[in-house]
């Protein structure tokens, strides 16, 4: 497992880090900070020095930001959506230039779309995108449906949840999954108008555990994995969502982010508040059998014994502080941490 690790101190805590999706194999990535008096979204590039086997990132553009950045999601290589602890959400454009360096500009600001009834600002805790559709959720328990082409709120589901909603992902174009502070997961059908009731609700666990991140499998979107406050990864098949398929304990801290590799869908990456960043991979290959077409070949969906089918590798020695975010691009992994540094891990064995 030889991969190279390069760390850079950036003088701010990074809460979210995202590769810019780009078919030209460029190296741009974006970071969002927290806990600063003035927070920033920064656009980075990196230089590869092949002789010295050295990689170092450098700053391309800095966009000051109001509030903590709680989530960043790219819509395409030119636009990304972000959510702020001030209760606003933004659509930002990456503007390439040949004469000057690439820059960032806020195209749309959805200001204070999350608010408590007493007038206090409510943090917008997460944002998710599907094509140009954007959904935000917040501590005020409401859900906003937005679109990248318009600065108006298309629809607001008020009081969707009696607790703070912390995570949200699109399952299908018209369906989203949210999780709240108490560990309740709710599936919403967005075609149903004038309703603030979810189509289905289930608990992540019998105990009060807070889910801290959600992700879906790249090719089978009914396969959802939740990471929680106690360091466990729970696998769900949403076609029948009463009980989880698997629970994988392992992380010391709360899991801050979990993602499948889009090009190698059986490989999973997770990072935690204890400073761990792990790579989960299946042992051997799952060979689809023509004789038994109904047997589940996706290891993640196989019940029981999944622990025996998985190898876990640590990508970095455990950092003393939380790793808040990670993102994948082919065999490169970047992560942003609370020790005010970002790490680039190159050449991960997939």
């Amino acid at each position: 497992m030889s991969h190279s690790l390069h760390g850079t101190f950036v003088s701010e805590k990074i809460n979210k880090i995202r590769w810019r999706p780009d078919s030209y194999n460029s190296h741009f990535f974006v970071t969002g900070s927290i806990d600063n008096v003035e927070n920033n979204i920064k656009l980075w590039d990196f230089c590869e020095n092949v002789e010295e086997d050295d990689i170092y990132p450098f700053l391309v553009y800095n966009l000051p930001y109001c509030g903590d950045i709680t989530e960043i999601k790219f819509i395409n290589s030119d636009f990304f959506a972000s959510s702020s602890s001030s209760g606003s959400a933004y659509l930002t454009r990456v503007i390439p230039s040949y004469s000057e360096s690439t820059s960032l500009k806020n195209e749309i600001e959805w200001k204070n779309i999350h608010q408590f009834k007493n007038g206090d600002a409510s943090p917008c805790t997460s944002v998710t995108v599907y094509d140009n559709d954007i959904v935000t959720v917040g501590e005020d328990g409401s859900i906003n449906l937005l679109n990248g082409k318009s600065s108006k709120i298309l629809r607001k589901i008020d009081d969707a949840d009696s607790c703070s909603i912390q995570c949200v992902i699109f399952l299908k174009h018209n369906e989203i999954l949210t999780s709240n502070l108490r560990g309740q997961m709710k599936i919403w059908d967005l075609r149903v108008q004038d309703s603030n009731r979810p189509t289905s609700t289930f608990m992540i666990s019998g105990e009060q555990v807070t889910p801290t991140c959600l992700t879906y499998h790249p090719t089978q979107r009914h396969l959802v994995i939740t990471g929680d406050d106690l360091g466990a990864l729970t696998t769900w098949d949403l076609r029948q969502n009463t009980y989880p398929i698997n629970v994988l304990n392992g992380h010391e801290g709360a899991i801050s982010e979990v993602q499948f590799n889009p090009e190698y869908p059986d490989q999973l990456f997770s990072c935690s508040s204890a400073g761990e960043i792990w790579h989960w991979t299946t042992k051997g290959e799952a060979v689809p059998s023509l004789l038994t077409p109904n047997v589940e070949t996706n290891v993640w969906l196989a019940p029981d014994n999944v622990k025996n089918k998985l190898d876990v590798f640590t990508l970095m020695p455990t950092l003393g502080k939380p790793i808040n975010s990670l993102d994948l691009n082919r065999n490169r992994v970047i992560c942003g941490c609370d020790n005010e540094a970002i790490y680039l891990i190159n050449g991960v064995n997939l």
């Binding site: 008096v37 003035e38 920033n40 800095n62 000051p64 109001c66 009834k117 007493n118």
Partner: protein, 364 residues
Amino acid sequence: MLEAQDIQAEHKDLIHDVAYDYYGRRMATCSSDQYVKVWDQTTEGKWIQTSSWKAHSGSVWKVTWAHPEFGQVLATCSFDRTAAVWEEIVGELPGPGERGTRHWVRRTNLVDSRTSVTDVKFGPKSQGLQLATCSAEGIIRIYEAPDVMNLSQWTLQHEVQSKLPCSCLSWNPSLNKLHPQMIAVGSDDANPANGGKVFIYEYNENSRRWTKLETIGSVVEPVHDIAFSPNLGRSYHILAIATKDVRIVNLTPVEDEQSLQSGVTKLDVQTMAQFEDHNSLVWRVCWNLTGTVLCSTGDDGCVRMFKMNYINSWKPVAVLKGDSSKAQCSSNNAANGNAVTAFSGTARYIKLGSISQTRETPWH
């Protein structure tokens, strides 16, 4: 290097007291104009006044915040012989898009005193919600809210008569539930013949009464302020006293036959430091959060700070004083070279000029 941010207080007279909430994000000021004002700090660091109301019918001497576990709660005391407890409530939850009205309501008016109430302080939260007041007639009153979620109900639990008029009090902020509660009270009586001016009281669980443990005989001048230091788990207590000088006193519980039998703690009192730097009367003393730096206010118009070093000896470290020269304004520049502060109104800090002087008289 020190930088200062100037906040226009808008009181019509001098401010008597300023108090900050637990997080240092809200400020309450009170004044001779009988008003109390509450300020909030925005995310950009500016302070905005969010409430202002006439709290008493006389000068308001002191204002203090309760622990946020009890909500947003203030207590004030005044020349008008009353102390009051205030709670911030959100008005009717309005429709979407409107800001809820915030205002402070008087939850209770404590009218037991017949003279000016000179100090009011909330007790440590481990014992529920308690409030102590002291007055010029020399009575210390301890109130309790039996239901912490209902601040309109307060009962007067104890009345302690001290022989001399009281000017200030301080609760011992021990984190340890096992320590009996302790209060220090200071008197500004001017007659040295009347004896010591600092009294230490302790709540005795057996007799369910507050008993006087000790009168600090070494302090015979009038005492204007008194403050226990935050306790880091030490077995002894540190008390700062504002009198004709700044005094720091250690109180160590002594275990001997007598105290074990009676259940009343015996204290060994030792003066650790005495600073005459103000060269005049000292009006206020205030500890920082960890009890490592003491700040004092004196009649020389200065604020002085004293710090303790690792061998437990105290030394002065800085002095603040007013000056008429014009301020040099330099706006709070953003850290990165190419970052433009998009948000107008980030807090502006001005750098303070300073003069250095070597100490003339090394103490002790």
